[in-house]
């Protein structure tokens, strides 16, 4: 079976992981237009080549980021989420 490297658990069978979608930037839901929100929800880059994706290790409920080639299925690198997101993202609430 194909093996993926989990930043928390080391090499594990591919069947233990769940794909979580492209890493994208979320617009502020309380201030963005509904068109921008629709774009964020539905439209995808769906690139050919190395892409940055969310992955989830099911047995340990652990989310991380992986860079993977979408043609060769080669996993180039996987790393903890903290490498990309080092501080809490605050969104404006509609009331404030």
């Amino acid at each position: 079976m194909k093996v993926m490297h989990c930043p928390l658990n080391g090499p594990r069978n591919m069947s233990e992981f769940v794909y979580g979608g492209e890493v994208t930037e979320m617009p502020d839901p309380s201030t963005c237009s509904s068109e921008a929100w629709a774009e964020y929800v539905f439209l995808r880059d769906n690139l050919v080549g190395v892409v940055r994706e969310w992955w989830y290790h099911t047995p340990t409920s652990y989310w991380f980021i992986a860079e993977r080639n979408t043609v060769t299925d080669e996993i180039v690198r996987s790393y903890p989420v903290t490498e990309l997101f080092d501080k809490r993202v605050e969104f404006q609430s509609r009331d404030s």
Binding site: M1, S15, Y19, E35, L43, N46, D73
Partner: protein, 413 residues
């Protein structure tokens, strides 16, 4: 007998009829350029020439005609969808399949054998009732049937209650069937070529020239081709071409794997599928058992096969037909599919003027080939979106008006 055949084959009295003339140089300009020489592109070209008199058309195909997902699907034809938009659209397609062989004078081997979908839970039975009612309302034959009726239809099916997911009921779709996918593409190709459409194989589109938001020319590996308008019909690579055109699509590309066993004596008339088991099974006219399943668990632009999917797919197939465990696999392959969030196609207008979309064909593209050609050719000829496909436009994702067919796929993905 073999000598008789050989004699017939070598006789000059019955020369083989060529499907279309060999390629020549590309013209500097065409009224319509169709990108993608699969079933959909060829059908669009065919109806443009036949019904709209538009013959200055070129179909550009990077490989060979019908060699992509047209050759890789499992040839299922059915119309038992869930939404009114989906049911009416696929029903029109199904009706066209009935007449294709006569129209082409070419056998597309359409065989109306009926499709049986199995329910293993109460919630599936509820959704079957819903689908059956919607189908009947639009004139599609669908009905909920019980275990006894299932046993009569498919006596070889494992009806044991001592399995992980015992069969509780079924959705019987008498209109369902299969057709020869290659023949459909070849029939359209021949018919289009006879009417003056140019078919160019080994011609890959590498760029698009867009001026003031309007398409003017297509760049290919064989030079620049001017065009009045263009149609993109490259399911599997839709996002890649749309990116060249400058917009994004609500599509993620997943492989879909299928396989076929060695031939057996005929035992299975209807198509049998189970969404719960992510599996559908049918027997071809040659006797081979075609087994198809859900998409791969994550996106990929590759037609490689994986052991994981084979294992799970075959385990489920053997639960339905235990005796197949004795049978050898003959071939295994994959296609790459445009999966959309609502499991409906994305077709019609695009953000680029005169550039028409035929994308998002996920795992449901083959059965739509005829109606897709009809409606896309209408769109190209008139510039107006036909009523039948109005709901499938790209803009439905801006207005949150998705057409949810997730529950009506043969194998959930």
């Amino acid at each position: 007998m073999p000598f008789g055949l050989l004699k017939y084959g070598l006789a000059t009295k019955y020369p083989a009829r060529r499907h279309f003339t060999a390629r020549k140089d590309l013209n500097p300009h065409y009224d319509v350029v169709i990108i993608g020489g699969g079933g959909h592109g060829l059908a669009t070209a065919y109806y443009l020439a036949k019904e709209h008199g538009i013959r200055n058309v070129a179909v550009l195909e990077k490989g060979y005609l019908g060699g992509g997902n047209t050759a890789r699907n499992t040839a299922v034809i059915r119309a038992n969808y869930l939404t009114p938009e989906g049911v009416t659209f696929y029903h029109e397609s199904l009706k066209l399949f009935h007449t294709l062989s006569n129209e082409f004078d070419y056998n597309v081997m359409f065989s109306e054998r009926g499709q049986l979908t199995l329910a293993h839970t109460d919630s599936t039975i509820r959704s079957f009732r819903w689908r059956a009612e919607v189908n009947k309302h639009f004139g599609v034959r669908s009905e909920l049937i019980d275990r006894e009726q299932i046993r009569e239809l498919v006596p070889t099916l494992n009806m044991s209650e001592d399995v992980r997911y015992p069969i509780l009921a079924g959705l019987w779709h008498a209109d369902g069937g299969t057709g020869r996918h290659d023949a459909v593409a070849w029939g359209y190709a021949r018919g289009a070529a006879e009417r003056g459409v140019e078919l160019h194989q080994l011609t890959e589109v590498t760029g698009l020239q867009i001026e003031n938001g309007k398409i003017t020319a297509v760049e290919t590996n064989r030079g620049l081709v001017g065009c009045g308008c263009a149609v993109q019909a490259v399911a599997g690579m839709s996002s890649v071409l749309a990116r060249i055109a400058g917009f994004r699509l609500p599509i993620v590309t997943y492989p879909l794997q299928a396989m076929v066993t060695q031939p057996l004596k005929p035992f299975l008339d209807p198509l049998v599928s189970s969404a719960q088991l992510h599996c559908y099974v049918s027997q071809t006219a040659r006797g081979e058992i075609v087994i198809g399943g859900g998409s791969d668990p994550y996106p990929l632009y590759s037609t490689r096969s994986s052991l994981e999917l084979k294992e799970s797919l075959l385990a489920h197939t053997i639960e339905m037909f235990p005796f197949l465990s004795e049978v050898k696999l003959l071939r295994q392959w994959a296609g790459i599919t445009d999966m959309t969030p609502d499991y409906s196609p994305v077709m019609g207008l695009s953000p680029v003027e005169n550039y028409y979309l035929d994308a998002g064909w996920g795992t449901w593209g083959f059965k739509a080939t005829p109606i897709c050609g009809k409606t896309m050719s209408q769109l190209v000829a008139t510039g107006k979106v036909p009523e039948l496909i109005a709901a499938f436009g790209l803009d439905r994702f801006k207005t949150f008006k998705q057409i949810n067919e997730a529950g009506a796929t043969a194998a959930s993905h």
